[in-house]
Amino acid sequence: MEPRIKAMGIAVTEKKTAARILIRDYQLWIMILPAIIVIVLFNYVPMYGIQLAFRDYDFSKGITGGAWHGLFYFKQFINSFQFADLMRNTISISVATILLSFPAPIILALILNQLRKKRVKEMMQTIVYLPHFISIVVIVGMLNVLLSPSSGIIGYLVKSLGFADLNLLASTHAFIPVYVLSDIWQHCGWNSIIYLAALSTVDPQLYDAVKIDGASRWQTVRYIEFPALIPTIVILFILSMGSVLGTGFEKVFLMQNTLNLPVSEVIATYVYKIGIVSNQFSYSAAIGLFNTVINFIFLFAMNYISRKSSNISLW
C-alpha cells in the first residue's frame, strides 16, 4: 500500500497525513464513543465493589466502610476443607467441556455446509439450534427421565448393550460425559451459526477455481473452508480460555445427587450453599474474585501465545 502512494508524490502524502489523520481519527472516536461511555459507566463505575472481597460487609457503613481484612477470606477459602476437591472438580468439568464442545460446532458447520439442497440445509439448521432455547431445568428433568435405568429410553439402551449395572445418573465416572455430551447436544447447533456465517462469506469463485484444478472435497475443506474459519476459531478459543474456572452453577446444581457429589461439587455450588444460611457476602466475593483472576490469567496467557504465533489476538 505504502509504495503505491509514495509513487504518487510525496507532497500529496504529506498533505493527506496532516489534515486527513486528524479528521479521520475524530470520526472514529465519535463512532466508538457510545460504546466507551456505556462500558465505562455501567462496568467501571461499580467496580469499587470488588473491594468487598477484602473487607467485611457492614451495611450501616456501605460497601466501602467495613473493616479491612486483606487476604483473610482468600486464605479461608484456600485453606478450607474442600478446596482441593472443588478446584479439581471445577477444572475437570470445564476442561472437558472446552475440549469437546469447542470442536463440535465447527465440525457441524462444515458438515451442514456440504448440503446443497437449500431446503434440507435450512431445515437442518433450524432443528439443530432449537435445543439452545430449552431452559436448564427442563434439560436436567429430561436427563432424569431418559437416562433412568428402569424407565428411560437411553437407560434401556445402556442395559441392552450389556452394562446392566451402570446407572448413568449415579456413577461418578459417568457424570462428566453426561454433562458434556448433553451440553454439546444443547448448544452445538447454536454455536455453529457463527461458523456457518463465516463460511457464507467465502467467495463462490474460489470454489469454482479449485474444482477446475481437480481438488477433492477433502482438499476443498482443508484449503478453502477451514482457513476461512481460522480467525473466528482462534478468537473464540482464546475467549473460551477465560472460562476455565467458570463451570456454571445451575446445571451442576440440578444434576447433583449423593452418589455423584464427590465429582459434582464445584466452586459455584459451594458458594451458593454457604450463602443460604448466612449472608457471607465478603467470603463469596473473595471466592468470586479468586475465580475471575485465574480465568483472566489463562485468557491473558492464551492471547499472548496466539499473538506471537499467529498474529491473531484480542489485543
Binding site: Y57, F59, S60, S80, F81, Q82, G141, N144, S148, P149, S150, N167, L169, A170, Q256, N257, T258, L259, L261, P262, E265, Y270, K273, I274, I276, V277, S278, N279, Q280
Partner: protein, 549 residues
C-alpha cells in the same frame, strides 16, 4: 434495505408502545417504596385508610391476595390498605439487592423470608417491635403470655423483637410416618413386622412373590424412600429407623444432631448409625430397596407410590399421609407401622423423630421496616393476624368458602369446593397457608379437614413412643435457638463440610457396602471437617437455653 425499513417501523411502533407502557408503569409503581406512597396518597388519605406497602413470599399455588376475603376484612378492621408485591420464586436472588439497597416495604411476610442473620447484618433496617406490641397488639401479647416459647423465638440476642412467629398447634408430632402394604401381607399370609429381621423377611417375600397379584412377580418395589439430598437428611427417609436403636431425632435431625440425656451428639459418627446403614445395605444388596433410590427425584418417588390403577408397586415406605403418598385409589391397601425394634430380643427404649416444634412453631414470619411511616397502623394490622379466628383463616382460608362458622363458637374446615382437588392443594390455593403469621390458640375450637385428620389418625401407632420422649433431656430446640452471627457462620461452614463427607458415604455404603473398612477413616474425616467444634458450640447454646428457661 427492506430490513432497514422494517427496523424503522418497529422502532416507531416501539416508541409509541413505550410511551404507553411507560405511563402505566409509573402509576403501577406508586405503592412499592415508602417515599412515594405518601406522595400518591393525597386522594387515599381522604378515604381514612392508611396506605401501606408489603411483600409476601408465598407458595406458587396461592391465588392473588386481593381475592382473599379474610385479608380484605383484616385490612379494613385495622384501617389500612396494603399494596402487596407477591413473590413466589427466586426470593433468595431478589432479597440480596432488596436489603442492601435499603429499599424495603413496610411489611414483609413469609416463612423464613428474613432470617436472624439478616437482622444482625442489616442493622437499622428492621423495626424493633417491642414497644409497638405493648401499645397496639394485644393479640400478640396474649400469644406471648399463653405460649412463652413464642416470645423466645422472637427475641434476638440483643433483646429486640424484629420478627414475629407462628403457632399452628394442629400439626402432627412428627413429619415422617411409615407404611406397609397390608393387602400384600394378607395375600402372602404374613404378619406386620415388629423388628428389622421380620421386616427383612417380609421384604424378601414381597420381592419373590407376586404380591400385587398382577401376574408379574418382578415388578414390586419392596422398599422405597425419599431422595436423600446432598446437604443432609430429610423427611420420609430411613433415618427414622434410628429410633429403633434408641436415638431420638430432633426435628428430623437434618444434619445428624440430636441430644441424649442433655448431651449434644451427631449420629453420623455414631455406632448405631453404622448399624442402620449395614441393615440398609443388606436390604439393598438383596434387591429389596428400589435400585434408583438415590437418583430418582421426588416426583418419581411419588409416582412409584401411586402404582398404576389399583395395582400397587411399593411395599414398605415412608410418607406424610396415605393420600399424599399413595394417591386416591391405593391408601386403603396400606397400614401404618409402629416403630420397629432392631431385633426380637432388643430391649432398647424405642424412639422416633420429635418434630412437633418444627411442625408448629417458626419465627420470622412477619417483619416491619424501620422506615415505615405509620408504624401504629402497621402494628394494628399485624395484631389482626394474631386473632385466633383470623389466624385460622390465614391457615385454611376464608370463612365462607373454606371454613364454616357453626354458630356455636365452633368452626369446621370445609372440604375443597372443587371435588377433584385434594385438601392440601385447596388450602395452598386459597390462602397463605403455612407461610403466614398466625396464632391458633388452644382455646380455638376448629374441626380439621379430612387430610389433617387422616394424618393424625395414621400417627396413632407412633403415639405411644412419641409421648414418652423427654423433651427436656432428649431434644435439641433448634427452632428456638438464637445464634450470634459469627457462630452461625462457623456452624454452617462446618456443617457444609461435614455433610459433603457424610452424604456421599451414606449413599455409597448403602449401595455398595464397605462400611466396615471405611468407618474409622470416615470418622476421622468428619472430625477434621469441624464436627467437634460444632458440637462444642451447640452444647454451649443448649446449656444456656436450659438455664435461661
Amino acid at each position: 434495505m427492506r430490513k432497514r425499513s422494517v427496523l424503522i417501523l418497529a422502532v416507531g411502533l416501539a416508541t409509541i408502545l413505550a410511551g404507553c407502557s411507560g405511563s402505566s408503569g409509573s402509576t403501577g409503581n406508586n405503592g412499592n417504596s415508602p417515599d412515594s406512597s405518601a406522595a400518591d396518597n393525597g386522594g387515599g388519605k381522604g378515604g381514612g385508610k392508611v396506605q401501606l406497602t408489603g411483600i409476601i413470599v408465598k407458595n406458587g399455588l396461592t391465588k392473588p391476595l386481593k381475592e382473599m376475603e379474610w385479608l380484605q376484612k383484616a385490612e379494613d378492621d385495622a384501617g389500612v390498605e396494603i399494596k402487596w408485591q407477591e413473590i413466589s420464586s427466586d426470593w433468595s436472588q431478589k432479597k440480596g439487592t432488596l436489603l442492601a439497597s435499603g429499599d424495603i416495604p413496610d411489611l414483609i411476610v413469609g416463612q423464613g423470608a428474613i432470617s436472624d442473620a439478616d437482622y444482625a447484618q442489616f442493622s437499622g433496617l428492621f423495626q424493633d417491635m417491642t414497644d409497638l406490641i405493648q401499645q397496639y397488639a394485644p393479640n400478640v401479647q396474649t400469644m406471648f403470655d399463653e405460649k412463652p416459647v413464642t416470645r423466645t423465638i422472637s427475641t434476638q440476642p440483643d433483646g429486640k423483637i424484629y420478627g414475629l412467629p407462628k403457632y399452628q398447634r394442629y400439626w402432627p408430632g412428627t413429619g415422617t410416618r411409615q407404611y406397609i402394604n397390608q393387602q400384600w401381607l394378607n395375600k402372602l399370609g404374613l404378619q406386620m413386622p415388629t423388628n428389622w429381621d421380620e421386616l427383612y423377611n417380609v421384604l424378601e417375600a414381597f420381592k419373590k412373590e407376586d404380591a400385587n397379584g398382577n401376574g408379574d412377580p418382578n415388578d414390586e418395589i419392596p422398599m422405597d424412600f425419599a431422595p436423600v439430598g446432598t446437604g443432609g437428611f430429610g423427611f420420609f427417609q430411613p433415618t427414622v429407623l434410628l429410633g429403633s436403636t434408641g436415638i431420638t431425632m430432633s426435628d428430623d435431625s437434618f444434619q445428624g444432631y440430636f441430644v441424649e440425656n442433655g448431651v449434644v451428639k451427631n449420629f453420623v459418627t455414631d455406632e448405631r448409625y453404622k448399624q442402620m446403614v449395614e441393615f440398609l445395605h443388606k436390604c439393598y444388596e438383596a434387591g429389596l430397596i428400589n435400585p434408583e433410590v438415590f437418583t430418582q427425584d421426588y416426583t418419581k418417588f411419588q409416582a412409584n407410590g401411586r402404582g398404576s390403577g389399583d395395582t400397587a408397586k411399593v411395599g414398605f415406605t415412608f410418607g406424610w399421609g396415605s393420600s399424599d403418598r399413595f394417591g386416591n385409589v391405593l391408601p386403603q391397601q396400606y397400614a401404618s407401622v409402629p416403630p420397629l425394634k432392631v431385633s426380637a430380643d432388643s430391649d432398647v427404649q424405642l424412639s422416633w423423630s420429635y418434630d412437633y416444634n418444627f411442625m408448629n412453631y417458626a419465627g420470622n414470619m412477619i417483619e416491619m421496616s424501620a422506615k415505615a411511616k405509620d408504624k401504629a397502623a402497621a402494628m394494628r394490622f399485624i395484631n389482626e393476624l394474631y386473632n385466633p379466628t383470623v389466624s385460622m383463616q390465614v391457615l385454611f382460608g376464608s370463612i365462607g368458602p373454606n371454613i364454616k362458622d357453626n354458630g356455636d363458637g365452633t368452626y369446621s374446615v370445609l372440604p375443597p369446593q372443587d371435588p377433584k382437588m385434594d385438601p392440601g392443594t385447596w388450602k395452598w390455593t386459597s390462602t397463605w397457608g403455612d407461610a403466614g403469621p398466625m396464632y391458633l390458640a388452644d382455646s380455638l375450637n376448629l374441626s380439621l379437614p379430612q387430610d389433617m385428620a387422616e394424618v393424625l389418625e395414621e400417627e396413632q401407632p407412633l403415639r405411644s413412643v412419641l409421648d414418652q420422649i423427654d423433651e427436656d433431656k432428649d431434644y435439641y430446640p433448634g427452632p428456638f435457638m438464637k445464634y450470634s452471627s459469627t457462630d452461625i457462620n462457623t456452624l454452617s461452614l462446618n456443617d457444609k463440610n461435614l455433610m459433603s463427607i457424610a452424604m456421599p458415604k451414606f449413599a455409597e455404603w448403602v449401595t455398595k457396602g464397605g462400611i466396615e473398612n471405611g468407618w474409622d477413616a470416615y470418622v476421622k474425616n468428619c472430625e477434621k471437617a469441624g464436627l467437634p467444634q460444632n458440637l462444642t458450640i451447640m452444647q454451649q447454646y443448649y446449656d444456656h437455653y436450659k438455664t435461661s428457661k
